[in-house]
């Protein structure tokens, strides 16, 4: 990968330009041992903080979650843990609300990720044209990324309000009548996806744009010499070249949509938000976890939900991997 660095103090290496005066042999040996130790230990010292912090606040709690899931722990008495075995797991697995949350997370994930990535791809294509004020356009579409989940969810909650909401006003104006967005099963999920799509499309478009600009121009030259239309070039040159990036954005968006929390929590706010709507119609797994652990105060089942999420994540990873493999096979 690279040229090698001659180790300092190693036998045969030059003593350096500025050695002031000759040292006694013992001192020199000590010094070179010190240098060698510096070279050996430094890289580990530099990466240690990451692994220490991650170990303490990421990995250890992740494993500890499994242990807590087998206990009764209440919010009001955090230091009392009582062994209950698989009870927490059977409790959530028998809870219809849990399965509603699983289904909601999945549905919202799909209807927010798919349009988001498709629009991002088209947008990246537009931005890749020779464009006046290209930096301006890029910055504008990225602006939602600077907005917090909370601010975005709250302003969209206002737009999607049943009474006096901006969207219903507009629909009324063109004669389409009112919709109680948060109450419907599909309408509430759509509303949440809109928030997600709004915040992340520009970000993904920029990632695609960067990948597009890395496609060698000879490929397009050759394609246009062969008489390929613009659409054919996009279809047969751009998309294949972007495949790894597309896969990457799918993975990242999927993981992101597993975690949706602020959007559903704040769509209606208050206790209705904490249970994901009157009929849990937009309750996601994170909201379910929060509701169990922090609203009802049962941390044991909440930990069991965390493990269910891990299982789901592994399942999605496996599907991603299988799909990726079959795509690679069919194109080969």
């Amino acid at each position: 990968m690279a040229t090698s660095i001659p180790a300092r103090g190693a036998p045969g290496s030059k003593p350096g330009r500025r050695v002031p005066k000759p040292m006694s042999p013992g001192r020199q040996a000590w010094r070179s041992r010190l240098w060698r130790f510096d070279d050996k230990a430094s890289p580990y010292a530099y990466i240690a903080p990451f692994f220490l912090v991650f170990g303490a606040f990421g990995l250890y709690p992740l494993l500890y979650t499994g242990w807590i899931a087998l206990h009764r722990v209440e919010m009001i008495s955090l230091d009392r843990m009582e062994w209950v075995g698989w009870e927490n797991f059977s409790r959530i697995l028998q809870d219809p609300e849990f399965w509603t949350a699983v289904g909601n997370t999945f549905v919202i994930g799909v209807i927010s990720t798919v349009p988001q990535l498709l629009v991002a791809l088209g947008l990246a294509h537009l931005l890749n044209y020779k464009l006046r004020a290209s930096t301006f356009w890029r910055t504008v579409i990225l602006t939602p990324y600077a907005t917090s989940v909370a601010s975005a969810a709250l302003v969209f909650a206002l737009v999607f309000r049943a009474d006096g909401g901006l969207l219903n006003w507009a629909l009324d104006f063109i004669g389409l009548g009112d919709t109680n967005w948060a109450n419907g099963h599909w309408s509430s999920k759509s509303a949440i996806s809109v928030i997600v799509i709004w915040r992340w499309t520009g970000y993904n478009a920029l990632i695609y744009l960067a990948a597009m600009q890395a496609v060698p121009s000879d490929l397009y030259e050759a394609a246009s010499l062969d008489g390929a239309s613009r659409w054919q070039q996009f279809r047969n040159v751009t998309i294949p070249a972007l495949r790894p990036t597309i896969l990457f954005t799918i993975v990242i968006s999927t993981i992101g949509s597993m975690q949706l929390f602020g959007e559903p929590l704040l769509l209606e706010g208050g206790t209705i938000g904490a249970q994901g709507g009157n009929e849990h119609q937009y309750e996601t797994l994170s909201v379910y976890l929060y509701n169990y652990g922090w609203k009802l105060g049962h941390l044991g089942p909440a930990a069991a939900v965390a493990w269910a999420m891990l299982a789901l994540l592994l399942l999605i990873a496996a599907i991603n991997w299988l799909v990726g493999r079959s795509v690679r096979k069919t194109s080969a």
């Binding site: 660095i5 001659p6 030059k14 350096g16 330009r17 500025r18 240098w35 430094s42 530099y46 903080p49 990451f50 692994f51 991650f54 606040f57 990421g58 709690p61 992740l62 807590i68 955090l78 629009v119 088209g122 537009l126 931005l127 044209y129 020779k130 464009l131 930096t135 910055t139 579409i141 990225l142 602006t143 600077a146 917090s148 302003v155 969209f156 737009v159 006096g164 901006l166 920029l206 990632i207 744009l209 960067a210 990948a211 597009m212 600009q213 890395a214 496609v215 613009r230 996009f234 990457f248 597993m258 975690q259 704040l266 904490a274 976890l289 941390l299 909440a302 493990w307 999420m309 994540l313």
Partner: protein, 307 residues
Amino acid sequence: MTTTSTVTAPDSRRVSKAAAPGTPPRRGRFKQGAGRQHHAGPFAYFALAVVGIGSLFPLYWTLVAASRTQDEILDTTPPFVPGGNLFNNLEAAWEQAHLGKAIWNTLVVSASITAATLFFCTLAGYAFAKMRFRGRGALMTAVVATLTIPPQLSVVPLFMMMSDIGWGGQLESVIFPTLVSAFGVFFMRQYLSEALPYELIEAGKVDGANNLRVVWSIVLPVARPAMMVLGMLTFVQAWNDFFWPYLALNQENPTLQVALGQLSASYVPDQSIVMAGALISTLPLLVVFVVFGKRIVGGIMSGAVKG
């Protein structure tokens, strides 16, 4: 973040990738990238304008709602221009949501997370980019793998741990888990492996500098542009973080996002006051965006593709 490795700096290793993406060396009539050879037509501008308005309108609507009364924004015909009630709403939000404390807390949290992330990620990124040690590949893979673990999986024990060591409800419980970031390590490694020539490190060592000295006087100056970008991305993220702070902090000691969440969860919240809070939480970042937008855009583009 393990994607294509198709982008390579052409001749010089020291091109500042973070500063100027999208300006590759161009030769001949054909420029790099799909469609680059074509000028955008009116349709492209029209589509971009539609998306642009869609991107900015919710922010504008936040301003309109924050400067009106609840009755006005929920009227049968919504007001489309800002009104004169902004300061009343800000004052109300200030009292109801501990906004003053929230702003201070958010600044403390974001600044300390950004400083720590920059320090640790630059060191680790340098080690992974330019130093040779046993297990480097495996450890780097481990770093990237941590990106895929959602915070949801560890919040329950984290909450118990924090209350155990006396950080329950304290800012420490939000700051410490976020002191490092896998993305940051990855980002700095990418940048330094291209921007920092081995000759420079060698020269330093020949001059008798130890490793720390090399980091201080050679690596840090070279890394500065990337650190700027990483710093802004980290700051934005820390400022906007919602899930864990919402669980970890309480009403008396919130960050801005937590205060916002609680404001909207209060019994029959006044929407114009909530929007005033949202405006306060968004405005500083919008200013950062207007000033440094180009660099942030470049940073996201350069950080995402290479790997």
